[in-house]
Amino acid sequence: MDLSVRIGSLTLKNPLIAASGCFGYGVEYADVVDLSSLGAIAVKGLFLSEREGHVAPRIVETPAGMLNAIGLQGIGVHRFVSEKLPELRARHATVIVNVCGTTLDEYVEVSRILSDAEGVAAIELNISCPNIKEGGIQFGCSLSGTYNVVSAVRTVTSLPVIPKLTPNVTDVASFARAAEEAGADAVSLVNTFLAMVIDVETRRPKISNIVGGLSGPAIRPIAVRMVYECRQTVSIPILGMGGIADARDALEFMIAGATAVQVGTANFVDPFIWTKLVDGIRDYLQRHEIARVSDLIGTVETGAVATERSGV
């Protein structure tokens, strides 16, 4: 049974990726997870310098989901390379670095530094954080901005370049196309949905940033639809995410068109989820007599929708 998938020049041993912002720098989880057992780890977003992020409270729960506005707290690319990357290398983790920037030059510089570092497998461009004004969303919400940042980074690295797209636009697929035209090797989607929670007793927002990004099972059907739409539009691989909580959810994204999937919020609830996901995918492939998980990608049958009740 072959669980490997290909993202451009990169081969992942399985399609499971820890989502950026939900797994620290990976090393935090080294005691509970064999980091080399994951397809890849997308580490927390990095700017050129350190950032302290927003004050607490930074998260609030919602029905089947959570809102966060962390504010991209991070140690900066230099400290990441010197303090975290050696341990990730030693643990044989496949590392995707989430790159942030307030300017085009910052994206380029951070990407260049990471390309020169040993042990980085790919670059995920964070052009979609909804929680800080200057966090790249100005690139992610404009087709030309997306095109420009991808093509600029493309010129300084031979690593796979994977922009992470926001769902907070009218037509995500057009952004996937802009990324593909600019030379992206893949696209990640979706980042969180901009949302708000108010305490009616105090009439105050429940997180300090007032608004934040919604993640968790609540968003999954919207994310699946967006992956499906992008699959119809681009031919580069899609890293699908949004509310995946078990193996069936992961398979749903792959059938919709994702080559690999990222898991974030569910890892907070169950840090031991990764072996359960791998086992669940293996079990599914066995039951359906499918030799390679990559054979599932984009195989959704849209001709006639079944009417019998199943899994009700």
Binding site: G24, E28, R58, E61, I70
Partner: protein
């Protein structure tokens, strides 16, 4: 190294209309836990509520062979997850991840241990008191609550040889007012040469007041902070506390892995 167990509820004892003590069969976690550490609990299957909740480890229970067999948590009803814990029944199972976080630093004689608890902030002090008393440290518990009926485990602490200084907001037991007042007076009366370590857990305002009093009397103070926590392992960056770093600058520190026990004089109280 933390483990996750589907821990059976051995007992769930209501202490009042809001407070309860849940005993969980989790021998591996109980055996590894140190005073001040916590567990992340999920009392329900499914997605609502979605996340686990952090709880200080309240007691370590032992079997007849004196081996740790279970832990308890002290819970106060403040929302959906604590309501589920209040209503949980023996025999049900709860996902329990731990032990997590950095524990208290335990002192030795002649240093005295003064614990300052507010409400449900009593939680980490049963195991801390046991550790201090096992080392024959002279131990005092300053314990404040709304009313007399919300003061728990007093006989336990007395039996352990812990001196109790009680306050209630309504005056129904001990001194009327806040727990920091008698702490302040006792520190003022204490011989400057007599070493003491303060340990505090409770509402944020109480912790800040305790930190101010400790600073004024130039006494070291460890506080166990409570924050909204997403994962308990350092992954989500939800539970940060603003602290003064080695460089003098302001830093957001994850209370799940750098704490929950933090040095009071490094926290930037706001």
């Amino acid at each position: 190294m933390p483990v996750d167990v589907a821990a059976e509820i051995i007992a769930n004892r209501a202490l009042s209309a809001d407070y309860n003590v849940v005993a969980l069969a989790a021998p591996a976690i109980a055996a590894a836990a140190a005073p001040g550490q916590f567990v992340m609990l999920k009392a329900n299957a499914g997605f609502d509520p979605l996340l686990r909740r952090p709880f200080s480890i309240f007691e370590i229970l032992c079997d007849s062979g004196r081996r740790p067999s279970a832990l308890t948590i002290l819970s106060k009803r403040i929302g959906p997850a604590t309501n589920l814990l209040y209503d949980a029944r023996a025999g049900e199972r709860i996902a329990c991840l731990g032990p997590l976080g950095r524990p208290f630093t335990i002192v030795d004689p002649p240093v005295e241990g003064w614990m300052v608890a507010g409400g449900v902030g009593l939680a980490p002090f049963v195991t801390l008191a046991e550790s201090l008393r096992a080392r024959r440290v002279k131990t005092t518990l300053f314990y404040g609550a709304r009313r007399a009926a919300d003061l728990f485990y007093l006989d336990f602490f007395r039996a352990l040889g812990v001196e109790l200084v009680l306050t209630t907001e309504d005056g129904s037991a001990g001194e009327t007012g806040r727990v920091v007042s008698p702490l302040d007076r006792r520190l003022a009366a204490l011989d400057r040469q007599a070493p003491v370590m303060l340990y505090a857990c409770g509402p944020e305002a109480m912790l800040a007041a305790t930190a101010r009093v400790a600073a004024r009397h130039q006494r070291p103070c460890q506080v166990s902070v409570e924050r909204i926590m997403g994962c308990g392992l350092g992954g989500c960056y939800s539970c940060v506390v603003p602290m003064r770093g080695e460089d003098g600058g302001r830093h957001h520190v994850r209370s799940c892995i750098a704490g929950p026990v933090l040095a009071a004089d490094r926290i930037l109280w706001e």
